[in-house]
């Protein structure tokens, strides 16, 4: 085929059109936050959680609209699996006025200018009523960008009937948490006593996602290691403590039920489940008084647990910051927070609702995990007596969680922990270097 003049011209035209489109697409849209008049319609985006959570959220939105006539809030639910990706790909001038954010991803949204500082729009009373954990999770670069309705609590669930039948004594406090050897022995005894031959369910199909980091980074931290320190991962993530933690973790595989149908614990196929507050409604309904909660294994430096959950922030492209702030104030009042935490069993993230929540106070079924949250710390400030550790607040978190969870999954599949963690640490450090430490 010969290159005719027409062909050359049309090729040039195509390239010109393409270049023009790419240039306009790449230029950032202008416009920033404005307080607005405090009236009108605001858009609210949230992730689609369990049915009960969605209902509670919709009730809160309806209650807000009924309680005053100046602002109307419109709720939009987006699938939870792709929620963070959706927000990442949405340009900031198309973001809603109020949006939910997965706690650990908050810093990377602040880095990309997608959130507005809350202190200008949210009442001081709301901010002072937030638990320290909620404030820590929502603060990036010294400014507050998010406040949460609920926090999260996780640990081990146990089936008392199966534990007693196998003759296993289970820990009831953090001081008596299982060491790795004791845990392995308990799993062995439970497997021997169980007809299915398995003892543990740790939701292994979700290990390569956020569950891996949330549920199992505490093991690394409990052993004395960490995901990252001072912006460097090499030396921390692949330290001998971290490697040992994952090596012990891999030894539990023979006792673990793959749990393809998700009912291993409620059906009694396993005696111990690695879970959190979101399992509590279903588990307590199935097991009743046989349900016990326990701390995670103590890998050396004291048992640790994960914490942090979804928070609420104001989009940086909002034209109605005042109205958005009014909505956040209403959302975080005791009535709505209590209704939400009743629906999903989560610990409240406001001081007034937390002290009133019977589930997490002394005598409640999840009091042990409530104690965790009362002794919480940030990932870069772990002390000996802190129990719940929030995930690192850094704009490089997406790579940290992707590499760690990938490592975890690989180690579960039989890979060498040292090699796997070293390559993960190198990848994280390279990502930080490429982005100048995310300053």
């Amino acid at each position: 085929m010969t290159i005719t003049r027409t062909l050359r011209r049309s090729a040039l035209a195509a390239v010109a059109v393409t270049a023009a489109v790419v240039m306009t697409a790449c230029s950032s849209a202008g416009g920033g936050v404005s307080a607005g008049t405090g009236t009108g319609t605001i858009n609210v985006w949230a992730h689609q959680g369990q049915d009960s959570e969605n209902a509670a959220l919709q009730a809160a939105v309806d209650g807000f609209n009924k309680s005053q006539g100046k602002v109307t809030a419109k709720l939009r639910l987006i699938s939870g699996d792709t929620y963070t990706t959706t927000i990442t790909s949405t340009p900031k001038n198309q973001l809603p006025d109020v949006l939910e954010i997965d706690g650990p991803t908050l810093a990377s949204f602040v880095y990309n200018d997608k959130l507005a500082p809350l202190s200008d729009y949210v009442a001081k009373g709301t901010i002072s009523n937030a638990t320290p954990g909620s404030v820590a999770e929502g603060t990036s670069g010294g400014k507050l960008y998010g406040l949460a309705m609920y926090d999260s609590a996780m640990g081990l669930y146990g089936n008392k009937k199966l534990l007693d039948a196998a003759g296993v004594t289970h820990p009831t406090s953090f001081d008596s948490a299982w060491t790795p050897d004791q845990f392995a022995a308990a799993l062995k005894a439970l497997s021997a006593a169980d007809p299915s031959g398995k003892a543990l369910d740790l939701n292994e199909s979700g290990l390569s996602g956020e569950w891996g980091t949330y549920g199992f980074a505490p093991l690394v931290q409990s052993a004395g290691g960490n995901l990252i320190k001072n912006g460097k991962s090499v030396g921390m993530l692949d330290s001998s403590a971290s490697v040992k933690a994952l090596a012990d973790f891999a030894t539990w595989k023979p006792y673990t039920d793959p749990n393809a149908d998700g009912n291993a614990f409620v059906d009694g196929r396993v005696g111990v489940a690695w879970g959190g507050h979101w399992n509590y409604p279903v588990f307590s309904k199935a097991l009743g008084s046989d349900l016990v909660v326990m701390p995670l294994p103590n890998m050396g430096q004291g048992a640790k647990a994960g914490a942090g959950s979804w928070t609420w922030g104001v989009g940086s492209g909002t034209k109605n910051g005042k109205a958005a702030g009014l909505f956040v104030d209403y959302l975080l009042n005791d009535k709505n927070v209590t209704a939400m935490t009743q629906a999903n069993g989560a610990p409240p993230a406001t001081k007034s609702a937390f002290t009133a929540d019977t589930l997490y106070q002394t005598g409640g079924a999840l009091a042990l995990w409530g104690e965790q949250l009362a002794h919480a710390c940030a990932a870069d400030a772990i002390t000996k007596d802190c129990l719940a550790v929030y995930r690192p607040v850094t704009a490089g978190y997406p790579t940290i969680t992707s590499k760690f969870a990938g490592s975890l999954s690989a180690v579960w599949g039989g890979a060498d922990p040292k090699k796997s963690l070293t390559s993960a640490a190198n990848a994280i450090d390279q990502n930080f270097a490429d982005n100048n430490g995310f300053k």
């Binding site: 393409t18 489109v21 200018d113 031959g197 398995k198 390569s208 992707s402 599949g413």
Partner: protein
């Protein structure tokens, strides 16, 4: 064979049409093809060129700061950087292994099925429908179903079948998690899903072969195998080449089943990751648009080179 149009008439036809009519023809032609060309430019050319441009930058999706120009750093990293190239080269190997196994096996199986089902037996229509059914299912659904079949617990379908056949002497195997069998499992379910499609195409080609040739072969006392080699194979040659080309391109686009099995079923990531999986993970998990673009450009180049080689080696011949 002599051309039906003799030389003097051909000179007349080639006489050029008047200028104005030529311009009108060109203009009408451009106008009529404009919607399709706009669509091609907007949905194929623009993203294609954008990918090439973006792969030269260090850029995140929708980032607030200006992107850094990096030249060919992304490409150099894919092949030489110890951190990045390990998984990229592994996924390259996985794609090639997948292609090398799937193309002959799936095509051979499809050809076998097509030959078997190209008879006028009672109930052959039922079998044709039956073998074509997996093609109707989306690959994501197939992956979810096979995840249950390949479940590593002793009560998983495949494990219990193996246990039943061997009388319990073979222990339950982690088909998806173990590095040795993970890619094989993915290949198995991909072939299961795709063989019906090729079978139907080859069946149509088989039915184009005139029955007289088989009669002539039988008269010459050719047995079944000789008939296959000398009548069937040449008759479906063009279709077979087309099917092989199509399967090659599809084999490099493996994504749905790999994504679902790795992210939700605990499949061994190292053993099953593919180039497309790497590219989408670079975006969704690490927000690295530059790297994802460079992977997709490399994938495009690989497919183009392989397609050109195949077209060179297997030239389609016209009939007669």
């Amino acid at each position: 064979m002599a051309s039906p149009v003799s030389t003097p008439m051909r000179t007349l036809i080639i006489a050029r049409a008047p200028r104005r009519r030529r311009w009108r023809d060109t203009r009408d032609g451009v106008l009529m093809s404009l919607p399709a060309i706009l669509g091609l430019v907007a949905f194929v050319a623009v993203p294609f060129i954008a990918a090439i441009v973006l792969s030269l930058y260090n850029v995140q999706v929708d980032q607030a700061r200006a992107p850094k120009f990096w030249g060919l750093t992304n490409y150099a990293r894919l092949f030489t950087d110890p951190v990045v190239s390990a998984s990229f080269l592994r996924s390259l190997v996985n794609n090639f292994v997948f292609a090398i196994v799937v193309i002959p096996v799936q095509t051979g199986l499809a050809l076998l099925l097509a030959v078997l089902l190209n008879r006028k037996l009672k109930g052959v229509r039922f079998f044709r429908t039956f073998f074509f059914m997996p093609v109707v299912f989306p690959m994501a659904l197939v992956a979810v179903i096979w995840r249950l079949i390949l479940d590593r617990s002793p009560s998983g379908l495949l494990n219990s079948a193996v246990g039943f056949v061997t009388g319990g002497s073979v222990p339950a195997h982690d088909w998806l998690g173990s590095a040795a069998t993970a890619l094989g499992s993915v290949i198995l379910l991909s072939i299961w899903q795709g063989v019906g499609f090729q079978m139907v195409i080859l069946l149509a080609a088989l039915q184009e072969i005139p029955e007289e040739r088989y009669e002539a072969a039988r008269l010459d006392r050719a047995n079944g195998w000789q008939q296959f080699v000398n009548v069937t194979a040449p008759g479906i040659r063009n279709t077979l080449i087309f099917v092989v080309l199509l399967t090659t391109i599809l084999a490099f686009r493996v994504y749905d089943q790999v994504f679902i099995l790795i992210r939700t079923a605990g499949a061994n990531e190292g053993a099953t990751q593919t180039l497309l999986y790497n590219a989408t993970q670079a975006i969704y998990s690490e927000n690295n648009l530059g790297r994802a673009s460079s992977i997709s450009v490399v994938l495009f180049l690989i497919i183009v080179i392989i397609t050109l080689i195949q077209r060179r080696v297997l030239r389609q011949r016209s009939e007669g």
